[in-house]
């Protein structure tokens, strides 16, 4: 098995604030990793470095053996936890926008997913509820044929039924040739789709392991472990 992601001693400081202090992590092809930690633990900083948006202060992060740059951006599909779609757009414009931007974007898949999510291509982005926006963002991100998907809080602020839809979409569209990192603090809802989990606290990975092995070793759910680590 080869590692899609290799991270060694990764540090990132914002002026005098240290967001990441020596994070280490590896992720194999075909695996889904849950990156779990409370607000301000460094999750988003970590993902932004992997997505090529931020530069690390020191340390190493390699995706498919390469430093973040033009190549890695072409194989990483990133769902940020912020708004990035223009308000004037209709859903079909957003799809066109992604199609223009990414050569690995599969338009057919996007429309299939839209239907699955029960979204109308003619709706305006501005008119969408939070849950619908989250579904649209996920549709766009999953319609790329990427090697690494990075989903930052895909379930944030979404009601339970929409959450189920989103989970279904993730499971249905995940391929064994790709890998995925998902951050969340709603561990309970999503822990069954993780192969691996990594707990991040104050910019350090404090525990990483196979989810099933952790369950049998500690006789606890990942959610309970999370509460234990971050109590």
């Amino acid at each position: 098995m080869y590692n899609v992601l290799e991270v060694e001693n990764l540090c990132k400081s914002y002026l005098n604030k240290r967001a990441l202090q020596g994070a280490n992590l590896t992720l194999e092809q075909g695996k889904i990793l849950g990156l779990l930690g409370p607000n301000g633990s460094g999750k988003t900083t970590f993902l932004k470095i992997a997505a090529g948006i931020l530069h690390p202060s020191s340390g190493k992060l390699l995706i498919d053996g390469q430093k973040p740059g033009v190549y890695t951006k072409s194989i990483v599909s990133y769902l940020p936890d912020t708004e990035y779609l223009f308000k004037w757009m209709k859903i079909k414009d957003a799809i066109q926008y992604f199609k223009d931007f990414y050569s690995d974007f599969d338009e057919k898949k996007a429309f299939t997913l839209l239907e699955f999510m029960k979204l109308d291509a003619n709706s305006g982005v501005k008119s969408l509820s939070k849950g619908m926006k989250e579904k649209l963002k996920l549709t766009l991100v999953l319609s790329r044929k990427a090697k690494l998907y990075i989903l930052d809080e895909p379930l944030g602020g979404v009601d339970p039924t929409a959450r189920e839809k989103i989970l279904d979409a993730i499971i249905n569209n995940f391929s064994e040739n790709s890998s995925m990192i998902i951050t969340t603090h709603l561990v309970n809802d999503i822990e069954r789709i993780f192969d691996e989990v990594a707990f991040i606290s104050d910019g350090e990975i404090v525990l990483q392991g196979n989810a099933e092995e952790l369950r049998s070793k500690k006789n606890k759910s990942i959610d309970e472990l999370y509460r234990e680590v971050f109590q």
Binding site: I32, I171, N188, D195, E212, R215, S216, N219
Partner: protein, 125 residues
């Protein structure tokens, strides 16, 4: 399929137990096709790799077999249903005895309490 998971235990073991149960109670019969890994993963909302692992373990135990390109099927080994029943019964009884002992019951008391309760349970079933 309705399957409530206990997230404290490895998910693949629970899936294996569920399938074993369906075979033991003959909901699944010899040579029945199991849902594909992907289908089952979607229904149960678990990682496809977890399902893969459950199927692989069941195959290793000779409970199911795979045919390339066709899918996974329930095995037709002789006595499999009886073996599975025995195995599951043993688990239930072992954990029962262990818990009774922890409560301080002696062996005679455990047997006595079973004889006493079995008639009462019979009334309700």
């Amino acid at each position: 399929m309705d399957l409530e998971f206990d997230d404290k235990l490895p998910i693949y073991l629970q899936i294996m137990d569920h399938i074993k149960m369906d075979i033991a109670t003959e909901k699944l019969k010899a040579n029945d096709k199991l849902p594909s890994v992907r289908e089952m993963a979607t229904i149960l909302k678990v990682n496809p790799n977890t399902l893969q692992r459950a199927y692989q373990e069941l195959e290793r135990l000779g409970i199911v077999y795979t045919q390339r390109g066709m899918g996974t099927f329930v095995g037709e080994r002789k006595h499999m249903i009886d073996d599975l029943k025995q195995e599951m019964a043993k688990e239930v009884i072992d954990s029962f005895i262990l818990r009774m002992k922890r409560l301080g019951f002696t062996e005679e008391e455990i047997i006595a309490s079973i004889s006493k309760n079995i008639t009462e349970v019979n009334k309700h079933v």
